[in-house]
Structure formats: C-alpha cells, structure tokens
Symmetry: C2
C-alpha cells in the first residue's frame, strides 16, 4: 500500500526555529545604516519592528524556542503533510524518489503564514495592535491578514495598484479576514500623494508600496509597526519550521534528501525548506545538493554580483550584503510575482557565496508545463512561484532516469495557484511569453548598486 | 495542548462505502420510467451509466467494498482531517463542542472528488474513455476533470453560459487538468443548437446543460458516458467515506455527535456526512439530530411536497420520489449555486419523510456572516454552500450557550470559497440581498410536478 501522505503527529510539531546565522562557515557581513554605512544596532530598527523580532534578526542562538501561543496557532494547520509524488515519479519513469512538503494546505494557501503569525504575535506582545505591509501578488498580504485576524489586530495592506485592479479576488480574500486593502500609490500617505503627483499614470510597484507601508508605521507614534514577508533573517528563520518538519517526516520513512529544492525570490521559502538540512551539511559534512530556483527574468543569484545594496527601490532601508541586480532593477512582468525581487536574503546569499548551496534560473514556460504535469499527477494546482521548484525537481528526476541513480529529491510546494488562474489561462491559450532578459535592462539595474565602504 | 486536527492513519482509511437503501425504515419508492411510469431496470439506465454504477444505484447490500484502485486515488488526499473548532467555540462562548470534517483540502477543493474518482473508475473498467457532464458553480466539473486526468480519460464539461462568462478562472481551473469546457447551450449538440435558436439571448441553465451532456453520451455509441455529481444513490453512497472517516476520528477522541449538520442541494454532501451516523440511529435507536440545511431561496425539503418528479428541467430523466419544488422551479440567483436544485436525492427525501432527519432553510446573509466568523477563527474561507452548514452549527452552539448543554456538533465543511470571491465581495460591500421567495415563483414551480400513478 502506497502511503502518499507522511503525517507528523501534532505532538511532534517542532517547538524551535533554526537560525542559520551562528552556523555560517565564514563571518556574516553586518547590515549597514544607509546614512552612516556603519553596522546597525537594535535601536536603528525599533521604529519599524518590535524588539522580539529585532533580537531574532541578529540572534547568535541556533535554536529559537517557539512561544506557546504561536505553537497553538501553528497547530491550526501544522504539521503540514510531506507527500511522496509516486504518480509523478511514474509519469517521469524515474528511479528517483520525489517528496514535497505541501504548504498549499495552510489557511492562506502558502508558506507565508508561518512568519505572519510569528510577526503578529511579537508585535502584539509589545502592545502593538496594528500592522502595515505591502503586497504584490497577494500571498503575503493574505497571510498577514489572517494572522492579524487571529490576534485581533488591525491590518493595512498597500497593494500594488496594477495587482489591485487585476486581482480583485485576492483583494476580497484579504478583506474577508478584516484587512483594509488600498491600491498603492494611495492618497493616504505623504509619499503616496507625492508619487501620484509625480507619476499620475503609475500602476505602482512593490518599492512604492513598501515606502507607503513604512511611512504609516514610522509616523504612527509606535501604534503601528511594519511587517515584511521575506528577506530578513527573522522571516527566514520562522520558515524553517517547514524543513524541520520535513526532516522528521523523512526520518519516519528512513529517508534523507540527496537534493533539496526551493523557489527563490526574497529567499524565505528556500530558507524554510533548506536551512534545517543545510545545518546537517555544515555540521556533518554531507554532500546534499541545494538548488535555489529563480526566474530567468529576475536572475539575482545567477547573474547579480555579491554586494551591498538597499532592500527597496527608494533606497530607504539598511544596506544588506546580498546578490543583487540593483535596487532599481525592473524585471519583466512574469506571472510568478513573488519571485520578482532584485535582491535576496543575506543568509541565502552568504551560503551561495560559500558554495554550500547553488542556484539555477528557469524561464517560465517550462515551469508552467511542469506545473500542469504535477497537477495531473498529484491533483494540486501549484502557484506559479512553486512551479519553478517543480520544474527543477522534474529535471533532476529525469537526470536520474538517464543515469539510473535513485536519488531522494525534496522540494517545497510553497502554495496553490487558485488566485493565479489568469497565468494558467495565458499558458493554456499559448499566450505565455518567455521574456529574454535584455542586456540594457540588466545593466541599468546593476548600475544602481551603491558604492559602499565595507567594514573591515 | 489542543489538538485541532484529528488525523486518521492512512491504514485506517475505510475500505467500504455505506449504502443506506437496505436499512430504510419503510420500503423505498422505486424509480419510474418517464414514459411508462413503471419501475426502471438496469437496462433502462445503461445508455448513460456503466453497469458498475447502475448496480450500486439499486444495491441491496449495505456495505460496498471500495476497489483498490479507487482506494489508491483516495489516498492522494484521504483521510481528510476532522477538526475541532476550539476558536469558534470560544468566540461563541458555547459549552458545545464543534467538530468539522475538512473536505476543502481535497485537490478539487470540495467533497465532489469522492464520487468523481469512483465514477471515472467504473466507467474506465467497462472500457469507457470519455465522460460528459454539466456544471453550474463549477465544483463538480472541477472534480470530474481531475478524476479524468487521474484515469487518463477525456472529460467534456458543459458549463452554464452565465457561469462560463462570470467565472473564467473556474473554467481555466478545469482546463488545467485537461478538460474541455464549453458554454451551454453550445453549438456542438442538437439540443444546444435548438435552444440557441429558440432563445438567442439565453444565459443557460443547469437543466439545459444536463440535456447537452446527456445527448453527447446518448449519441456516442457507448464511447462516452454521462456523469452526475449528486442526487443519485451511487453518488450519495460514494460520499459516505466522509462520515465513515469522521466516525472513526470521533471515536479516537471518545466522542460521538449529538447533532450532525450538512448543507443540502442535490443531497450528496448531506448524505456523505450523515448516512454513516443515520445507520447507527436506525439500528441502535439513538436520538441523534440530523439537520439538512437548504437555502431559503430554494426550500426543497421545507416547502416542497413529497412527490414523484423529474430530475431535470426538460423532463427527460426517470421519475424519482423526492421532495420537489417542481422541475420547472427557477430559484433566485443566490451565490450558493450548488444548492439551487428543485429536488433532492430520494434517500434523503425518504429519511426526511420518515422523520429520521429534519431540514431547515436559511437566508444567505446570515450564512455569509457566520462564514466570515468561521474564517477569522479557523483560517479557512468556506464555499457559500458550506456556509449554510456553518450557520446552522453556530445557531445550535448558541442554543447550547443559552441552555448550558454541552452538545457535540459535527458538520461537513464541503469546500473552500477560493473561486467564490465575487460573493464575498458583494457581502463585504453590503450588496448581498436576501431574496424573499415569491409566492408566484413557488406556485409556478409546484405546478410543474407531474401527475404520476404510483405503483402499489
């Protein structure tokens, strides 16, 4: 009898997140103040984030206990199933074993809720009852809306105007949980009014939406804080619950991955599935192959330099050592909106630089093709972001068919595609393009990487 | 520690469906031929259905073994979790225990896939490689599309034209699994062309779509069969896997329901959660309260007579003893499209007539209100159909708060609402109406119930 789903008993839900910072093989580059270019301290971040999260951002502890109230909320949907893709293996006629962690069954429909719950909790603990954030594709805004509903907090989401207009259902989904959703740039912030005056026809951008959400927090007198859905260390570590569970689930069937795959935009999804296994590689000298999969239209890890850059388009955030295409890089309009980010988490970048992990970039058409094969075999229609991980897993499994190796492949199914049907429709109609990244677009982005005097 | 999710080990997945027919307290009224008004035999149905399903339709066996290949497909997503709604209980300050079976996590997003897999299997067994069906809201069409992908079969879905145009995402969802989806009435069938000529401006109806799907099967020379998503006994019994699992899951926490609730359109969802517990009530003389919840706009069980009527608007199907508002009844356009059916499964009707179960009718506004409370507490945004069961469960829990009774309430969360955001949007904007069912609409429907000479 095939056991497709490997469940973990609720009692075995891991009660600590893994923080990769102290295990890094080389010293981790500090985050720098955008004005002084000196390392930032906790106080520099306290206008935007609660101290509980700032401490995690810089924590020297590899294990961070998950508070009971977060565990209680996690138990609403965790542990998520680890699934063996028997039917996909058969379709590929591969000797490889393919496992995937199914984060599509969370209430928000993606892994993002693992950190939104934690972020809402730490804010609430410090008396904050309102959070502001930005969202593009909408997975993050949805996750924060649900977390705020769970903790009885206000949630204000600045949604990139073009998505606000093109994805009314995603907006309604967030509103159903009580969030207020505004198209960005809006008339409710100073920067929003300025942007609308300067660019009356703008359809918005994630950079603009971040600026508005940050302004709301920074000018609230402490009643509202800002919340970010990826990139930062505290976000990445909250996601490690995915890999920690997967490790226990694989152990329960006496297995361990040879290859670990995650799609990579800001990096938190990849970190979530990979870091708990990276820990083993660093400490036990294993050969595990880690593949961060990014879109060819936004090839941060594969074509960007390892350099200090800002996290936002406006250049307001601290400077972070990362792979970057430049904070002014404007990627083509691919459907995997969650992977259209010029930079990447500094931890993911660091591990890539040290050759602990590797990265590949894939065009979107083969990703959608792999995604529909997966849907027909496994039943679940993946998010366009997740399709990148699936495509890489399929490629690895096909290599195994050719080599005869029976590798164990693990990837994270970060979310479902129920709110991305326009993308699938375009693919099915044959209207989906593979954007070649034009050299001048790349060079224009790279030119925006700032000159930084790195600390010794 | 709260255990929100009560999992059932894959090895405990029930391997038989429950057929309520032989356990009925009084003789079950036979299905009649529409022409002769005499009881139909297996051959009368063989143009549309494979013999494996026809045998189940009339089976005298209370237990029907689930074939191994269906079990294998079920294991892709079953057992589904039984969940304890602790947070909803707290919000309601009720001493009642509220459990719900979570069918929203199936690949199709609803319970419909429990029967689509079985129907695809029995057709495939008899050499049929193509199925035709109709869909309105789209849950059923999606489930059949996925099942056909699993068994490598063709799937043709006639989608009511107004839904086809209003719900392009639902259409793309079905197409993603390889189904061909046509707006009904279409130009591809004789009846479709006739309907378009007679009513050039028609937006279609479920009745019209059924006629087209039936024509495709009836004129295929046996290569295509027809598939129905509710009402028939074989459909209802496939859904009993839900209640059978729930019974094992409740037993694992030493509990048993005092109240079992399901929304009720054609009846298969209600049958799925209720019939395995009805079996106990009939055999062990229990007092379990069974509540079938229908929309006030389409109050089949609460305002229709118990009478013979056709299953479709065109009057082509056999005559079935049921509660009915008349096969020409046109319900107002509520958002719970899956509950807009003039009749109901004969088994559900029979149990209502014999007072084993009861029925209530609810307007849609309080259902949406209850649904959003549920979403905020439990995280999951329900389908509008499921919201009727939630509203009834909330009402029962509030009664317990007032009486101090600690009843155990069980309902089925039949599906998620990810493709129903227009409905939630309308509710959130205050644009949702509660349609009072007008007396002349009701009377016009009732007048279409045919005169039938019932067999002695």
């Amino acid at each position: 009898m095939r056991e497709y789903a490997i469940h973990l008993d609720a009692k075995q839900l891991p009660d600590a997140w893994y923080n990769v910072l102290p295990d890094m093989p080389t010293p981790h580059a500090p985050v720098l103040h955008p004005g002084t270019q000196q390392p930032v301290g906790p106080d520099d971040l306290s206008a935007l984030f609660p101290m509980g999260l700032i401490q995690q951002e810089m924590s020297p502890e590899p294990e961070i206990s998950i508070p009971g109230d977060i565990m209680d909320k996690y138990r609403l949907f965790r542990p998520t199933p680890l699934r063996r893709a028997y039917r996909l293996e058969e379709a590929l006629q591969t000797p490889a074993k393919i496992y995937y962690k199914n984060e599509s069954v969370t209430p928000s429909g993606s892994h993002k809720i693992n950190t939104s719950i934690a972020q809402a909790y730490y804010n609430k603990q410090e008396g904050v009852n309102s959070l502001s954030t930005e969202t593009g594709a909408g997975q993050w805004g949805t996750a924060l809306a649900i977390a705020c509903a769970m903790f009885d907090m206000q949630c204000q989401v600045f949604m990139v105007r073009v998505s606000f207009e093109q994805k009314p259902y995603r907006k309604s989904f967030m509103e159903s949980y009580g969030a207020s959703v505004l198209p960005s740039p809006s008339d409710t912030t100073e920067i929003g009014r300025k942007l609308r005056a300067d660019y009356p026809d703008t359809t918005g951008s994630l950079g603009m939406a971040i600026s508005e959400a940050v302004e709301v927090a920074a000018t609230s007198g402490g009643t509202t804080k800002y919340s970010l859905g990826s990139v930062l260390n505290h976000v990445c570590l909250h996601q490690t619950i995915i890999g920690e569970e997967a490790k226990l689930q694989l152990a329960s069937v006496d297995d361990y991955p040879d290859v670990v795959i995650g799609c990579c935009g800001g990096g938190s999804n990849f970190a979530g599935i990979a870091f708990p296994f990276v820990k083993d590689k660093l400490k036990k000298d294993l050969n595990t192959d880690f593949i961060a999969v990014e879109p060819a239209a936004c090839p941060t890890l594969t074509r960007g330099p390892y350099a200090y850059d800002f996290g936002d388009t406006g250049g307001l955030t601290p400077l972070i050592k990362q792979y970057t295409l430049g904070h002014n890089f404007m990627p083509p309009g691919i459907h995997a909106g969650g992977l259209r980010y010029h930079g990447v988490a500094s931890t993911v970048a660091h591990l890539k630089k040290d050759d602990v992990i590797r990265a590949i970039a894939l065009p979107q058409t083969p990703c959608f093709k792999a995604s529909l094969l997966f849907a027909k075999c496994e039943g679940i229609l993946p998010a366009p972001e997740s399709s990148h991980a699936i495509c890489a897993a399929v490629d690895e499994a096909v290599k195994c068919r050719e080599s005869g190796e029976a590798k164990t492949i693990l990837f994270n199914l970060s979310g479902h595609g129920h709110f991305d049907m326009t993308a699938y429709d375009a693919y099915l109609q044959g209207n989906l393009q593979d954007y070649a990244l034009e050299e001048d677009v790349l060079q224009k982005g790279l030119a925006s990487i700032p000159e930084v005097n790195e600390p010794a």
